[in-house]
């Protein structure tokens, strides 16, 4: 059956790849993104692939006062929410966050605050309809604080804990919550990095996300080899980890 899909951060590379997989099954979408031109390009693409885009919202996702309004608009357009994907985020400059606490607060606000706020509104709706999946992109960076990106890591760690609680709360009503922890993904967000063997394409990550949503899984690492890698990294004693200067 074609699904109703709501995506926040719809122009992110991973969200775009996920949307295409649902477009192949003639899904109906509401898409929320910041950049109107990019959003229009994605809408045209999904439509040509057989999807219906019933509404788009061009909005700055940091605008917390309007999160409830957007979820309500999506419900009005779609009726039931089958899948909600929260995919927006930024990769803050760690050095800048250390020097400038406004930059640090903003990084936490975007990657944790706004995602958690949207998740709260979505959760209320899923509770009401007693179905649906909320899938949120966290990160392997949230599994342990590293000196090289602990601001981003802390925001994503907070998000993962928030989703754990939300999952427990929604468990009794038939809705599910999926925490997605991608490793290195080749997207515009990681444009400045040298790419190596551990890097995955957005398409590969999207395939894993769609499988996990269908199977109502709880926490996934994508690609899955990150699960044992992060287990080992979490097990390293703090004193040794400090000396590893990661």
């Amino acid at each position: 059956m074609p699904m109703n899909v709501l995506i926040f951060g719809a122009t992110s590379a991973i969200a775009q790849a996920v949307a295409r997989r649902y477009a192949d099954t003639q899904a109906t979408f509401v898409l929320v993104a910041r950049d109107a031109a990019k959003l229009a390009a994605n809408v045209a693409d999904l439509t040509a692939r057989g999807a219906t885009v019933s509404a788009t919202l061009v909005a700055d996702l940091e605008d917390g006062d309007r999160h409830g309004e957007w979820v309500a608009a999506a419900v009005a357009a779609l009726g039931t929410l089958d899948v909600v994907l929260i995919a927006h985020g930024t990769l803050p400059d760690q050095a800048q966050c250390e020097a400038d606490d406004a930059a640090m607060r903003q990084a936490i606000d975007v990657n944790f605050g706004s995602a958690a706020s949207i998740a709260t509104h979505v959760a209320r709706e899923l509770e009401r309809q007693r179905s649906g999946t909320l899938a949120v992109i966290a990160s392997v960076a949230g599994d342990r604080g590293k000196r090289s990106n602990y601001v981003y890591g802390a925001a994503k760690a907070g998000l993962a804990v928030y989703l754990q609680g939300l999952r427990a709360r929604l468990a009794s009503c038939g809705a599910s919550v999926l925490t997605i922890k991608p490793g290195f993904v080749d997207t515009p967000m990681t444009a400045g990095f040298a790419k190596g063997a551990l890097w995955a394409t957005p398409e590969r990550v999207a395939a894993a996300i769609c499988r996990a949503i269908a199977a109502r899984r709880t926490v996934i690492y994508v690609p899955s080899f990150w699960r044992p890698i992060m287990w080992v990294i979490r097990m390293i004693p703090e004193r040794i980890f400090i000396r590893m200067r990661m």
Partner: protein, 436 residues
């Protein structure tokens, strides 16, 4: 991760790369640029040694599909296979496809690719309505045959040198079935091959011949001529799921895997199977894209890669030239795993540096054995040039500037439209050497 190398994996070069995620993204900052699609050009026409390639596979969005008129607009990094995924179930087909569906639209335009239906449909560029060209100075040109016509003609077959194509609009053709009705006819000489072309080109949209290059002996040549056309009746096959690649060559195989003896054995076996096939109805994929079932088959040629020789020789010189070529190749002791021939038609492409012309085209793959392979290829190039033929830039890694200028005597017509920041290994090796 996308490897930025050419399909023949020769030459190996050092270069930077940067993607275009969106049509409006700034071009990478580098001294020289070259668009790079899916890396299916064989030699160095898709490489920019010491410079930067703009990878365009990330521009993979559809823009509009008019299902009543069969007009498709999409970004330049969309592959022909991705187009077929969308348009076949709706009864539309690409008017020209090369031997693989994995090439991008941008690459198909830049190399003005041709297929088994060249004798009726011409090249890919004959079916392009319009495209947008981005230049390094920030200019964006909407090109059609009428508007910015010089840019349109220079960019079709222009090897990516005129700028980056961000999107293109194509005219598709109607089909009623996903099946092709095809027939295999064995032949025993070049003369018989020519006769089969003459007898088939009117009634069959697709014609191509495979031959066993190890069988050449004083005019005798064993091969199988294949001809086919789309099934006309509505048989309900359009909506059937498309077959996916079945296997992949995971890493470069040792050189002996496609060595002399295994290739002889393969060719004999292939002939035995192919010549007995007769008439049958098959899906279009195995007929048009036989090698696509095995992804990364280029790795089978071993760590040193391989080179392809594809040329076209004018009709009146074709038989003489092909005989001399096959003699030269046989004497060198090098053979080709897959060798194909086809008669091109006379439909003229808008592209000014387009490769096809009326005559016979021949394509052979050679494992790279270093200097012996290069000297054999250079001798073949001289032969082809002497007969008024030309070499396909998209397949080439070693033709001399003189052979290039003989094959494309009008190549300077491209110069005014080349973007000053754009260049390629191929272009510096050929045109660059002529201009110096």
């Amino acid at each position: 991760m996308q490897r930025v190398e050419s399909w023949g994996r020769y030459p190996r070069v050092a270069q930077e790369s940067g993607p275009l995620w969106w049509r409006d993204d700034p071009l990478p900052e580098a001294a020289t640029l070259l668009p790079y699609g899916n890396g299916l050009s064989y030699g160095d026409s898709c490489l920019n040694p010491g410079g930067c390639v703009i990878t365009t596979r990330t521009l993979d969005r559809f823009i509009a599909f008019d299902e009543t008129r069969g007009v498709l607009r999409c970004e330049a990094g969309v592959t022909l296979g991705e187009i077929l995924d969308r348009c076949v179930p709706r009864g539309w087909f690409l008017p020209v496809v090369p031997g693989t569906q994995f090439v991008t639209v941008g690459g198909a335009i830049a190399n003005d690719v041709h297929g088994k239906n060249h004798h009726v449909a011409g090249t890919f560029g004959c079916h392009v309505n319009s495209f947008e060209l981005r230049r390094s100075d920030g200019e964006r040109l909407l090109c059609t045959a009428e508007d910015n016509g010089a840019w349109f003609r220079a960019t079709i077959g222009g090897l990516g040198l005129t700028g980056v194509i961000t999107w293109a609009e194509l005219q598709l053709k109607r089909i009623h079935s996903a099946l092709v009705e095809c027939e295999s006819l064995p032949f025993a000489s070049l003369a018989q091959f020519s006769a089969l072309c003459a007898a088939s080109d009117r009634d069959f949209e697709y014609t191509v011949a495979w031959f066993d290059c190890y069988s050449w002996q004083n005019g005798a040549l064993r091969g199988v001529f294949t001809r086919g056309r789309h099934v006309e009746e509505d048989d309900g096959t359009l909506a059937a799921p498309r077959p996916r690649p079945r296997a992949s060559v995971p890493f470069p195989l040792p050189g002996w895997v496609l060595g002399r003896w295994s290739m002889r054995a393969f060719n004999a076996l292939y002939y035995a199977i192919k010549s007995r096939q007769g008439r049958q109805r098959v899906r279009f994929e195995p007929f048009l894209f036989p090698l696509d079932v095995l992804t990364q088959w280029n790795l089978a040629y071993g760590p040193r890669g391989f080179m392809q020789l594809q040329c076209v020789v004018p009709v009146d010189a074709a038989e003489r030239c092909l005989a001399a070529l096959l003699q030269r190749i046989t004497e060198s002791g090098q053979g080709s795993f897959l060798a194909v021939m086809k008669c091109f038609g006379d439909r003229v492409s808008p592209g000014c540096l387009s490769f096809p012309m009326p005559g016979t085209t021949l394509a052979l793959d050679f494992q790279n054995r270093g200097e012996s392979t290069l000297s054999m290829l250079r001798a073949c190039h001289e032969l082809i040039a002497a007969h008024g033929g030309r070499i396909y830039p998209a397949k080439d890694a070693c033709m001399s500037p003189e052979v290039f200028a003989t094959g494309f005597p009008h190549w300077r017509e491209l110069l005014p439209n080349i973007d000053p920041a754009f260049t390629s290994g191929f272009w510096r090796r050929t045109a660059g050497a002529l201009n110096a």
